[in-house]
């Protein structure tokens, strides 16, 4: 029979009863598998020892409960105890991954995002998720290796005092939240991002060098592509941010003019399809991107697939994408309507962000 997989060997160390008899019998009589088992055991022991926490007395449950009661959950009604945690800074916790991703897409749009990769070059009429693992994100090719990327307008983000000022500075209808969810209170901080523009000029020579560096041959560029330009515009945008303790955003409602790409010389679809064929793009991502090609009107959201799940939904009659972290601590919903992309994200559950999104005025 075939050898036991690494996963089976690893489980044998911890839960032999969870491994099928047939595998256990095979491993017991197989020198190859026994070697693999010994290697797994050695790695497990080494890592376990290195990760062992410092020793100390058992936790003090009563003191911990008291701390939670006085310093934390009672803030809605009770006074905060000044003695608890005095003199210690709060650790930075609950980084709003989804909110950060969503706001980066909305506010930075084709500016910083396009400098790092080429995903946002699609003209945006609707939003669909791209499943990316962390490894895939790192492996995405930098578009600057395939030509010149000139940022003609940097997105500048600044805070303004209120919704009226945000509307005046951005020219957008600032979304108003009808009712805040439980646990979130107070007035939001308003941020406005200016319009960003960048121009990408494809260079066959640069692309060939990049391909050679990656040990691959450059697919022959379609006629007219060498020197063709794609202009990327994004913004302006506006975000309302409600913060909780320690200044961490609890709720973000953001809206921006959706990123748009204009091409010269060759049809945009030709540029896109060629970029899809460049060496360095993971097959899986390329495959997913190809499904978006119907009208080139999709904004792929680069969300890390190992941390979030996405599902389609509808908001204000428009197709929307709901993003939830697998630990259910964060959720976001994104949709595009009339060339404007809107995001509601926060340390909330999916029902709460949807409810806020659907009640926006």
């Amino acid at each position: 029979m075939r050898h036991a997989t690494e996963g089976v060997l690893r489980r044998l160390l911890d839960e032999p009863a969870g491994v099928p008899d047939v595998d256990r019998r095979h491993v017991a009589g197989c020198p190859v598998c026994l070697d693999g088992l010994a290697a797994a055991r050695a790695d497990a022991a080494l890592v376990d020892a290195a990760m062992a926490p410092e020793s100390g007395p058992d936790v003090d449950l009563d003191a911990a409960w008291q701390r939670l009661s006085t310093a934390g959950l009672a803030t809605a009604t009770a006074k905060r105890s000044p003695t608890v945690r005095a003199g210690r800074s709060r650790p930075r916790l609950h980084r709003p991954v989804v909110a950060a991703v969503a706001v980066a897409v909305v506010l930075a749009g084709a500016g910083t995002a396009a400098a790092a990769d080429w995903l946002p070059i699609f003209r945006t009429d609707k939003v669909a998720p791209v499943g990316l693992t962390t490894d895939d994100l790192v492996a995405l090719p930098d578009l600057s290796a395939y030509g010149d990327l000139a940022v003609t307008a940097d997105p500048r983000v600044h805070e303004v005092p209120d919704a009226a000022a945000a509307a005046a500075a951005s020219g957008l209808d600032v979304p108003q939240v009808a009712a805040l969810p439980r646990g979130i209170a107070g007035r939001p901080a308003y941020q406005v991002g200016s319009k960003a523009s960048a121009t990408f000029t494809f260079s066959a020579a640069a692309a060939a060098r990049a391909a050679a560096k990656a040990g691959a041959a450059l697919p022959p560029p379609p006629p007219g592509l060498d020197g063709a330009q794609v202009r990327l515009d994004a913004g302006p945008g506006v975000a309302a941010v409600w913060s909780q303790r320690a200044g961490v955003p609890a709720l973000v409602v953001a809206r921006a003019v959706a990123p748009t790409a204009f091409s010269t010389g060759v049809p945009f679809e030709t540029v896109r399809d060629y970029l899809l064929s460049l060496p360095g793009l993971p097959d899986k991502v390329a495959e997913q991107l190809r499904t978006f090609t119907a009208d080139g009107s999709t904004l792929p959201l680069p969300v890390p697939a190992d941390q979030v799940t996405t599902s389609p939904t509808r908001v204000h009659g428009a197709p929307a994408t709901l993003v939830e972290t697998r630990d259910r601590t964060l959720a976001a919903v994104v949709w595009v309507q009339d060339g404007v992309v809107t995001v509601v994200a926060g340390s909330l559950d999916a029902g709460e962000v949807l409810s806020i999104a659907r009640d926006l005025s």
């Binding site: 690494e6 690893r10 797994a40 911990a64 310093a71 959950l73 650790p91 693992t133 697998r326």
Partner: protein
């Protein structure tokens, strides 16, 4: 109890019971990631603050808490760990004999390396490894992370193999 007086009823009623049952485990998960018990207790407080306002079904609480503790601790590791470790080393080198200091620095160095490597792992691998190392069964890890029990071993093995490479690579450079 102060927790029960919330005017808007936002705090779940079974919080006290679940806190007493699972607080140790939550601290244990965070301590595996961070090494420091004090920081692990800070993380546990944050996790229970979120849990207290959540509507996570009680039956899923244990897995939810463990996953939340691992993510929160890994986020902390990524954001502020380097400075904290420098402070640890600095504290360890105060008022000790030279021999103690050398041992403390070597130990802390290994801890730093394993935790730097842990922060670099794909998040799912890191969380699976930490949950398993904290005593959760393969079935519990699988349920908490939405994986099949069969893939837990593979994921944990990959994580351990990567961490071993990081540890031995540095050791061989010494």
């Amino acid at each position: 109890m102060a927790l029960r007086g919330s005017a808007d009823g936002a705090v779940r009623s079974d919080l006290g019971e679940i806190f007493r049952r699972d607080y140790r485990q939550v601290v244990g998960v965070a301590a595996r990631v961070l090494g420091s018990r004090d920081e692990a207790e800070d993380v546990a407080q944050e996790v229970f603050l979120s849990f207290g306002r959540s509507s996570v079904p009680a039956a899923e609480a244990r897995g939810w808490l463990a996953v939340a503790a691992a993510h929160t601790a890994l986020n902390l590791l990524r954001s502020g760990r380097r400075r904290a470790l420098r402070e640890e080393i600095s504290a360890a080198t105060d008022d000790r004999s030279v021999r103690d200091v050398a041992e403390a620095v070597v130990t802390l160095d290994e801890r730093t390396r394993v935790r730097t490597a842990l922060a670099r792992l794909p998040r799912k691998q890191a969380v699976a490894l930490v949950l398993r190392a904290s005593g959760l069964s393969y079935a519990d890890v699988a349920a908490a992370l939405g994986m099949s029990p069969g893939s837990v071993g593979t994921t944990v093995r990959r994580a351990e193999s990567q961490l071993r490479k990081e540890l031995t690579r540095h050791a061989s450079c010494d």
